[in-house]
Amino acid sequence: MNIKLLKKHKYNIDFIIGSVLLLFAILIVIIGLFYTPYDPNVMSNELKNISPSLLHPFGTDNFGRDILSRVMKGTGTTVIISTMIVTIGVLFGTLIGAITGYYGGWLDEVLMRMNDALLAFPSLLLALVFVGIFGVGKYNIILALGLVFIPSFSRIVRSEFITYKNMDFVNNAILLGASDFRIMFVHILPNTKPMLLSAVVVGLNNAVLAEAGMSFLGLGVQPPDPSLGRMLSEAQSYLFNAPWYALAPGLMIVIIVLGFSLISGGRLFEK
């Protein structure tokens, strides 16, 4: 019927907008690799806290650095760091969640206890520990936060697996002699996609924010290198006399997160 067509159409719009937003972000990252209007680290006393103008579309920061140029560089750093963090979290989280959810038993018990313990553990302290082990730096924070992200993914995947493992299609597959591995990753896993995708969007979001928090504590990207989160946390001190400082990095974060969620939301109706 017509309604069905309309729905299909609407899903496309979501998907298209989401893709456009993400493509835009990726474009910024790629351009930022080769070209920025100004050197993102060059300072100038005369150009401190200048409001947006033609020369500096997003103004300048408290060091007189061009905010647009810094956002272009910072987006790249943020995108790489947060996708890596989520990748680590999803890969290991899915593996652990699938195994514990499907098999249950003592392994489930042990891993879930570890999981609970880690979830209850303040991520700040955990990150401090990893930084203590691996040292400070852009890439060490990926590892540290990636590990911090595993428990929440494994918990979601586990509860999905528990829901699905007694369903008819699984029982059928067992009767047909499918291996456990096949059942877990070919039959059950695709069903968890909606939940997992939502979790990925949330995770991505949290990763951007976690990186910001860590940078703010001096554990992530080291100054003067920009990252979106770091810029935003620096901007908070200037909200009354340079409110535009927060605008560009804030917008960029919103674009990335919104883009991802529109795409995943669109995908959801595909089924």
């Binding site: 806290n49 007189g64 401090l128 400070v136 001096g218 100054p223």
Partner: protein
């Protein structure tokens, strides 16, 4: 259904919020609230080490003498003193009728106890007490009668009075000092709630009569300068020290700004034993490679004073300001020096910066940018304060660090750490000539002569470029229009007894 219920609940909530919000702010007019951003590390004056704690406790406790706003010693618990001709025996006479906040007379026994306690001479001694290292020259403290105390030294020490002023007098064997502090200062302690506030009220029997003195002071503890500033804007805080330049520009109506010296030596401190800074030419090159005035302009809108050596500018007689011009900004000269030292392609190193001091972090970013001009490549590594203390300050595991050294009571303190054997010589500075001068200066009684020695030592530190001295920042304070009397000291002090309502 659900929707309607939810909207109802929401409505009720909003209504109650707005109704309650109209209640407004009730604050006694006699009270002054001052914002601080660091919680106290102890209420016991002999255990407190943080500058942020000492500047609060200054209002409760006093030593035998105390420092005034000009950096001069004025009598406090002691009324007067006499020195023996060999400079080894000091007799202090206690101020007539001086009482602790609990109403008891201050006796010689209390003073003996207090000095012995902070000198680590009590047995058994409490390991949490931050022993004043300069007290190692004290061989004996003895109460003579009720009103005089005799202090005997091992060797003459011309600055012992300064150090004695840091030893606050507390009642003997008073067990509750760290929860219910009792001192002799212009304010008495009312309450302390960790992470919230310290409350004090006027001590009516204080020996100096001050009709203008405010009745009640609240030191409000905020988590950082940003949230403290919000609280200033909302009118909860009346006085907020240590503003950034950007905040000073955003001061709300009803407040004014006062500027003074912070008496902090901000610099890039170099590990004189680590490559590449074990070569004096590299250290000098670094001094030529930074433009101090420009740093101050960018980081603080010009609100700072360029420094050329390691001395607190608050001690005006001792500070040698001519050393500011020894190194000008000269990237060519820097490159040349690096070449001479064998670093044809420039150098790379890491600057460790304590992450909790945004001011230092900002300065470091500018420094890194400036150094590029001279072919010097520096990376910033932020570390937590306690990690800075152990890694940089104690273990000396670093190449360079950008931080600040806070002013202390005695001018000697600024130079002490450059002695080869000094436990706090974290820059690993080694110069036998300096050591000798320091010893000579210490044994010199004549102040003018001593000042000359001090200036020679400062010149030495500048010439050897033990560190790259950057600036003494301004301490900017926002003050409520209703108040006046905020006073700057050469050390970290928030003297609330001088504040009064206009």
């Amino acid at each position: 259904m659900l929707k309607r219920k939810a909207i109802m609940i929401l409505l009720i909530l909003v209504l109650s919020i707005t109704l309650y919000g109209c209640k407004g702010n009730m604050k006694s007019t006699k009270t002054v609230t001052i914002g601080i951003t660091q919680d106290l590390d102890s209420l016991d004056p002999h255990k407190a080490v943080a500058a942020g704690t000492k500047e609060v406790l200054f209002n409760i406790y006093e030593g035998l003498y105390k420092l005034d706003k000009n950096g001069e010693l004025v009598s406090a618990v002691a009324e007067s003193y006499e020195v023996s001709s060999d400079d080894l025996v000091y007799i202090f006479n206690i101020r007539n009728g001086i009482k602790f906040h609990n109403g008891n007379n201050v006796t010689a026994n209390d003073i003996e106890y207090s000095i012995k306690r902070s000198a680590g001479m009590l047995k058994p001694s409490d390991p949490m007490i931050a022993v004043i290292s300069a007290f190692s020259v004290i061989s004996d403290v003895e109460a003579i009668g009720d009103n005089t105390v005799k202090i005997v030294l091992n060797e003459p020490d011309t600055e012992i009075l300064y150090y004695l002023s840091t030893c606050d007098i507390i009642p003997k064997d008073y067990a509750e000092i760290s929860t219910k502090p009792i001192g002799t200062g212009p304010f008495k302690f009312v309450s302390y709630s960790p992470l919230e506030s310290v409350v004090m009220e006027k001590y009516n029997d204080y020996y100096l009569e001050n009709k203008q003195q405010i009745e009640k002071v609240i030191f409000k503890i905020s988590s950082d300068t940003d949230s403290a500033f919000m609280e200033l804007r909302s009118g909860v805080i009346d006085i907020l020290p240590y503003l950034t330049d950007a905040q000073a520009e955003q001061i709300p109506e009803g407040y004014y700004v006062k500027e003074g010296s912070m008496n902090l030596i901000q610099g890039i401190f170099l590990n004189n034993e680590r490559e590449p800074f074990n070569d004096i030419r590299v250290r000098q090159a670094l001094s030529y490679a930074i433009d101090r005035q420009k740093i101050i302009d960018i980081v603080a809108g010009g609100k700072g004073e360029v420094l050329g050596t390691n001395m607190f500018p608050g001690f005006k007689n001792y500070y040698d300001e001519t050393l500011v011009d020894v190194y000008d900004f000269n990237p060519d000269k820097a490159k040349e020096l690096l070449k001479e030292a064998g670093y044809d392609n420039g150098i790379s190193f890491t600057i460790k910066v304590p992450s909790n001091y945004q001011y230092h972090v900002d300065t470091a970013q500018i420094v890194v940018e400036q150094l590029k001009e001279s072919g010097i490549n520096a990376d910033i590594q932020l570390i937590e304060w306690s990690a800075w203390l152990s890694e940089v300050y104690k273990e000396r595991d670093y190449q360079a660090t950008l931080s600040g050294l806070a002013a202390e009571v005695a001018p000697r303190k600024a130079l002490e750490r450059f002695n080869t054997e000094a436990g706090n010589n974290f820059m690993n500075y080694k110069n036998p000539e300096f050591d000798n001068l320091y010893k000579t200066a210490n044994n010199t009684n004549d102040e003018n002569e001593r000042i000359l020695y001090y200036k020679q030592m400062q010149a030495m530190l500048t010439k050897d470029a033990a560190a790259v001295y950057i600036q003494n920042p301004f301490q900017i304070t926002a003050i409520n229009d209703k108040l006046d009397g905020y006073t700057y000291y050469p050390i970290y002090v928030q003297d609330m007894s001088l504040i009064y309502f206009k």
